[in-house]
Amino acid sequence: MKAAAFEYVRPVTLSEACAILRADEDARVIAGGQTLVPMMAMRLARPSRLVDVARLPELAGIADEGAAVSFGAATRQLDAEKSTLVKIKLPLLAAALPWVGHRPTRSRGTVGGSVANADPAAEIPLVLVTLAGEVEFATADGVETCAARDFFTGPMMTALPQDAVLTRVRFPVWSGRVGVGFHEVSTRRSDFAYVSACAQVRFENGVCAQLAVGVGGGVPVPTRLDAVAQALVGTAMSDADIDAALEAPVAALDIMTDHYASTDYRRRVARELAARALRDARDAAIGAAA
């Protein structure tokens, strides 16, 4: 099908974009359009107006902020994937990016778009929640910041006001030597994940000094498993330690079901993928420290 008629506008400043969005509640922001355009083609979305923010200077660029790396919301996913800064400072995001859609969608899709869209199967939101990052957005009233854990409120739902433009996405950088792991299961390569899991670990003197692990895909919002981190920090992270630490938190996960994969299957896969991600992260962290 073809999209219903709409008006296309390309404001040249962020404040102009915010003003347009405030004046028309049926207007929608477009950047890469890799989710919105198919939704419009199927007429599941019928915006009155598309506000193209892809070329706004305020939404461009990857910035090294020392303790964090931030992405202008309109940064293409493929540009993030090619970035040396990302490879060095955000290895977990670097590991996740090749799983985001296909290269031909990453070449148009943006980092901010993936976050604003909040698909439960999306990889970038999972990494953002796992690393306890934050999101910045602008409305006609000014700029606000929101922690990733408060930003995602349900499948395809966020705390972003209707008249806001997501402007930056910020990922904390860990100092020291870290290891990461990322795993995902889907029907076909780069299809929507049934379950994905990621982990980042830092070792010091043979024990785990810092750890973050998260599960996405089968859950309504990307979920960081803080109890696993509490159980494993201070241990050598043996395979048995990892399995024991995952048991209760994975059992407590609010797993979704559909005609592709049952709750039980997704929970088993979540436990296994989280364990693999943690083992990979541990091995890489120990290797990096040696």
């Binding site: 099908m1 073809k2 999209a3 219903a4 008629a5 709409f6 008006e7 296309y8 390309r10 477009i30 359009g33 890799q34 355009v37 198919p38 419009m40 083609a41 199927m42 598309l50 193209d52 892809a54 493929l78 859609g101 296909h102 290269r103 031909p104 969608t105 070449s107 148009r108 076909r188 390569r189 780069s190």
Partner: protein
């Protein structure tokens, strides 16, 4: 609305609706029918073109968003009328197509892969074309075609033929 697009090195002006996809603009307004319409919602890859050298789905862009980029379609690959690019030639030679519906997109995707990675592994090739559906070949001969094109391009003084 009027859009000005740079396609295969030439400037084109088209009169489109805001809702006209780049795919429909190429096919219906500009007569560039090498970009094929399959699913028209981003899953089959038949509409793949190159935007600044990277593969992109032309059904997932509105023509109104596409000004200012270097767009390449299959019509822009052959070095001269009546000739074929090395990649196109390799697809013929290995029978990398049957019905041809997926072929322009496969060739553009392969062209982009080989321009950033002249000696791809089989895995690199499979990964590169993983967003393009072919309902005929079973992919085997397509992969062979890309391998053959890579070998040819690696041969002496063949580099320019890629264009």
């Amino acid at each position: 609305m009027k859009v000005e697009l740079t396609i295969n090195g030439a400037t084109h002006v088209a009169d489109v609706e805001a809702r006209t996809t780049l795919l429909d603009c190429l096919r219906d307004k500009l007569g560039l029918t090498g970009a094929h319409a399959g699913c028209e919602h981003g899953v089959c890859g038949a509409c793949t073109i190159l935007v600044d050298g990277e593969p992109a789905r032309s059904c997932l862009m509105f023509a109104a968003q596409a000004d200012g980029y270097e767009i390449t379609t299959i019509e822009g690959l052959a070095p001269a009328p009546g000739e074929l690019s090395v990649v196109q030639d390799a697809f013929c030679e290995t029978h990398g197509m049957q019905c041809g519906y997926c072929t322009p997109a496969m060739i553009l995707t392969a062209h982009s892969l080989l321009s950033r990675n002249p000696s791809p592994t089989r895995e690199d090739i499979v990964e590169a074309i993983s967003g393009n559906v072919c309902r005929c070949t079973g992919y085997g001969q397509i992969i062979e075609a890309v391998e053959l094109a890579a070998r040819r391009l690696a041969g002496s003084n063949a580099a320019e033929d890629a264009r």
